[in-house]
């Protein structure tokens, strides 16, 4: 169950609309926002893969530019990886020239 703290960067005119949409997403909690379009959220997900899915969904929302990660804790997932209960699927980064 990784936990991540993010700053979602939005178009200021769309901030309130995005906040409402974020509040509907499971595992997403909105903490604060400002007039510049920054929204502070925490995502709690079942796995890193799920968290990545949620972040992708947020980034593709109308009015959202980026979803910047500030803090991530995955201590229980790491434990699961170590115990062999969870095997992350990894296609290797270095299988690419750039």
């Amino acid at each position: 169950m990784p936990i991540g703290g993010f700053v979602v960067q939005t178009e200021p005119a769309a901030t309130e609309k995005v906040k409402k949409e974020l509040a509907c997403l499971q595992g997403v909690e909105v903490y604060a926002s400002d007039e510049k379009g920054n929204i502070v959220i925490v995502i709690e997900s079942n796995s890193s893969d799920d968290m990545e899915e949620i972040v992708k969904k947020i980034t593709s929302m109308e009015g959202v530019f980026t979803t910047g990660l500030a803090y991530l804790n995955a201590e229980d997932e790491v434990e699961k990886i170590e115990k062999g209960e969870y095997i992350p699927n990894i296609s290797l980064g270095h299988n690419k020239p750039h």
Binding site: N38, V42, P88, L92, H94
Partner: protein, 797 residues
């Protein structure tokens, strides 16, 4: 306190994020509590792209379990992207390589052997090849993801020890054209400016880059600048494909692939003919040149040359949405903004005329004086964390030695030999094979032993089948050092397990000339070793096998050093103090001690520790900012171009004609095929088999088809589509959307499955100057083969 562990972690996450934007939350955590999430934080760099984000790895019970950004860092200002998750996923992954694996013949199964046996075999095979077939029968192929210490020691042993310049690396495939462009336009490699220009720019010219997906953290900075100044800041995106980057642009210029050289010349035409240029800047600092012989010509000749590129003529060449008016507007925005910054990546570099495309971008900056002042720069973004630092600066390509020295110049070779304490003449004068030539030499049976480090050419080379055939030859002994099995380990004789990032110590040099240290934070899996240890031990055995004390001399300063920190430190000391001394990438001030003390490392040139501690050189060539500009000044002018490649100390404006791609579509293969990377290509999610999820998650490569083409060919979303070129074919699911321009298809290339490995289809034509292949453009045909099919992920085991 009464907080549950999870609630405590959530509050920590929220407070950290809120602190980035100065927001108050209705709760706090007192100091003791806020330190309780992990045992310790170890500060290093992310290694998953070229931006150089600084992060702290949270270590608990000897394992990496958490990440947080470093807000004081001048690269990422604290922000990270989701690629960072790969750290903890990789570190404890049960499929990590942990034992040396060997087989004499490539059709045999691997068997586990000891490190002693493995190093003996590697030494015997390389020594045997050198003895029987000569020094140039062996080669090293490295990576922009290797640490500088690793690239440096590998190339030292190859050149100084084994007397060959067959030293190459995958940066040839991604930034060699940028190197060629910087050297021929500005006389020195690597950008003049920094990310810091983003906050001062008024016009962004983004060409051949989908930075929203590929460099999201830098894109965030750019968007912040735009959002804070919506009326003042313009964004121009030049790309044949609609992407998340183009969607935020004030102007998106969409054109037939490969015709952007005409757009760039047409913008220059407008700048000249509408007198938008900076005459004083040109007179003071620039000359015009043309042709192979670099002949100097005058302004009138340049003006005449541009007559072939009126906006009307260029618009006719480019197609898409390009109109003469659009070209004129773009030229005006570019030239008249108080500061213009260009940014590009592979769309410009991976081209038959990649160096020329780079030159033509630089031309616009030189003509308009949009250089050297705050916010103005011609800035190539890099894809890998250490293509700049390790490979470009550390001697990781066949024609360059450490410290931006050319192999072919005797004086420079002698400087290196002297620094290494080896006999004069030991480094051969002839550059080695560049990447495509190296793998062609394997095909031809000329290379008998190759060491491939931290990269997978069996997947990443264009026209991959042609080169996989050569790599499967029994007379070519292949050693691979890596952390996981790959398509290349499938063709290896000897596979050596290595330590991952944060499991060893070393320096990465990111896009903006910035070197940053990542110290060892946790132990590698038992059995995996850092490359610097592997090379040292191999070299000592090589010296014995070949009875050659000079090979031993190459690693003598490092014998007995502890491998986790002392050994890489000794290698860095030698490289930075001896090899960068008085070179344009002078890193003498960037000692491990200084690097450790900085939140974000040091930008070269940084000749002294005192200067390095200020952060180094934000802007090259500017007196008062760059210490070398002051030291090397030849007159009173504020800008001093001391780069090694231009003896006239001028910026060069090039007359480069428009040339199309090596292979344009024709009746038989009527589509353009372009390839690229995706933000999450670093990992694939587990298979769902259902098409909507599949498209959302992007776990497999797919082919993007323009709706007009899809309609014409009867292709529906999710249908299986065959993409075939003269070299090979793939069968992939279709994504139908307004991404690629009509007549073009686009495929991401992260998938290792044989059916979806797009480099089996791409072309291996390369730029005659930079030798970088044209991954971005070739001709193909497509057809629907079936409706949607469930797919299986492919992971090499």
């Amino acid at each position: 306190m009464g907080l549950s562990r999870r609630e405590f972690l959530k509050r920590t996450a929220a407070l950290t994020a809120a602190s980035y934007v100065g927001l108050e939350l209705p709760f706090t955590l007192h100091k003791e509590a806020s330190a309780a999430d992990v045992d310790k934080w170890v500060r290093g760099s992310c290694r998953l792209c070229g931006v150089g984000c600084r992060l702290d790895l949270g270590v608990k019970n000897g394992r990496g379990v958490a990440l947080r950004g470093v807000p004081e860092s001048r690269t990422n200002l604290g922000y990270l992207c989701m690629k960072g998750m790969l750290f903890y996923k990789v570190m404890g992954h049960p499929e990590r390589l942990t034992k040396p694996l060997y087989r004499e013949k490539k059709d045999q199964p691997f068997k586990e052997i000891s490190w002693d046996e493995a190093l003996d075999i590697a030494a015997k095979k390389f020594a045997g090849a050198v003895t029987a077939y000569g020094n140039d029968s062996v080669a090293y192929y490295g990576s922009g993801q290797a640490l500088t210490e690793e690239t440096y020691i590998f190339q030292k042993v190859m050149r100084g020890g084994l007397k060959t310049n067959n030293v190459e690396g995958n940066p040839r495939l991604c930034m060699a054209s940028a190197v060629g462009g910087y050297l021929t336009s500005f006389g020195a490699d690597e950008p003049i400016g920094s990310y810091a220009d983003i906050e001062k720019a008024h016009c962004f010219f983004i060409i051949g880059s989908n930075m929203a997906e590929a460099h999201p953290v830098i894109f965030r900075r750019l968007m912040r600048r735009k959002l804070d100044n919506p009326d003042k800041v313009k964004v121009i995106n030049v790309d044949p494909r609609v992407s998340p980057t183009s969607r935020i642009a004030d102007m998106h210029m969409q054109f037939k692939p490969g015709t952007d050289l005409a757009i760039l010349n047409a913008m220059a035409y407008v700048i000249i003919n509408e007198k938008l240029y900076d005459e004083k800047f040109i007179n003071d600092y620039a000359v015009f040149r043309m042709g192979k012989e670099k002949k100097q010509v005058d302004f009138a000749a340049y003006k005449k040359f541009l007559e072939d590129y009126t906006p009307e003529k260029a618009a006719a060449i480019c197609g898409g949405n390009i109109t003469p008016e659009k070209i004129r507007t773009a030229a005006h925005w570019f030239a008249k903004s108080p500061a213009t910054m260009s940014l590009w990546t592979m769309g410009i570099n991976q081209r038959k005329r990649g160096v020329w495309a780079n030159n033509l971008i630089h031309n616009l900056h030189i003509l308009t004086g949009q250089l050297l002042k705050p916010g103005a720069d011609s800035f190539s973004l890099t894809g890998q964390p250490n293509a700049c630092g390790g490979v470009r600066e550390g001697g990781g390509l066949c024609h360059i030695l450490p410290g931006h020295r050319l192999v072919k110049i005797e004086k420079l070779r002698n400087q290196v030999e002297e620094a290494w304490g080896i006999p004069k003449g030991r480094i051969p004068p002839k550059p080695g094979y560049h990447t495509v030539a190296m793998f062609e030499a394997i095909n031809a049976g000329k290379i008998k032993a190759i060491w491939i480090n931290c990269t997978s050419p069996a997947q990443s080379l264009p026209n991959a089948d042609k080169y996989r055939k050569g790599m499967s030859r029994e007379d070519c002994f292949i050693v691979v050092t890596d952390i996981f099995p790959t398509k290349t380990t499938e063709l290896a004789n000897l596979v050596l397990p290595t330590a991952f990032h944060f499991e060893k110590t070393g320096v990465y040099g990111c896009t903006e000339r910035r070197s940053q240290l990542t110290p060892k934070a946790i132990d590698p899996p038992k059995g995996a070793k850092p490359e610097v240890w592997i090379v040292r031990e191999w070299a000592l055995r090589l010296a014995k096998e070949l009875n050659d004390p000079v090979i031993k001399q190459c690693v003598a300063p490092f014998i007995g050093k502890e491998e986790g920190y002392e050994l890489p430190k000794a290698i860095w000391d030698e490289y930075s103090q001896k090899l960068t001394k008085n070179r344009d990438n002078d890193l003498r001030g960037a000692t491990y001690e200084v690097l450790k003390s900085m939140p974000d490392g040091v930008q070269w040139p940084a000749p002294t520790e005192a200067f390095a501690k200020t952060g180094g050189t934000v802007k090259k060539f500017v007196r008062g900012i760059d210490p070398l500009a002051d030291k090397e000044a030849k007159d009173d002018k504020p800008y001093q171009f001391y780069g090694p490649a231009h003896k006239d100390r001028k910026l060069w404006i090039w007359l480069r004609p428009y040339k199309g791609p090596a292979e344009a579509p024709d009746a038989e293969y009527p589509f353009y095929l372009s390839t690229g990377r995706i933000i999450d290509h670093w990992h694939t999610t587990s298979m769902t088999g259902r098409i909507p999820e599949l498209m959302r998650a992007n776990p497999y490569a797919y082919v993007e088809v323009n709706p007009a083409d899809a309609k014409r060919l009867g292709i529906k979303p999710g249908d299986m589509v065959e993409v075939e070129s003269r070299r090979g074919k793939n069968v992939l699911p279709a994504k139908v959307y307004e991404g690629p321009i009509e007549g073009m298809v686009f495929v991401y290339w992260h998938d290792m499955h044989e059916d979806r490995m797009i480099n089996r289809v791409t072309k291996d034509a390369y730029d005659p100057g930079s030798k970088e292949p044209e991954f971005k453009i070739c001709a193909c045909r497509i057809k629907r083969v079936s409706g949607p099919k469930p797919l299986k992920p492919y992971i090499v085991t």
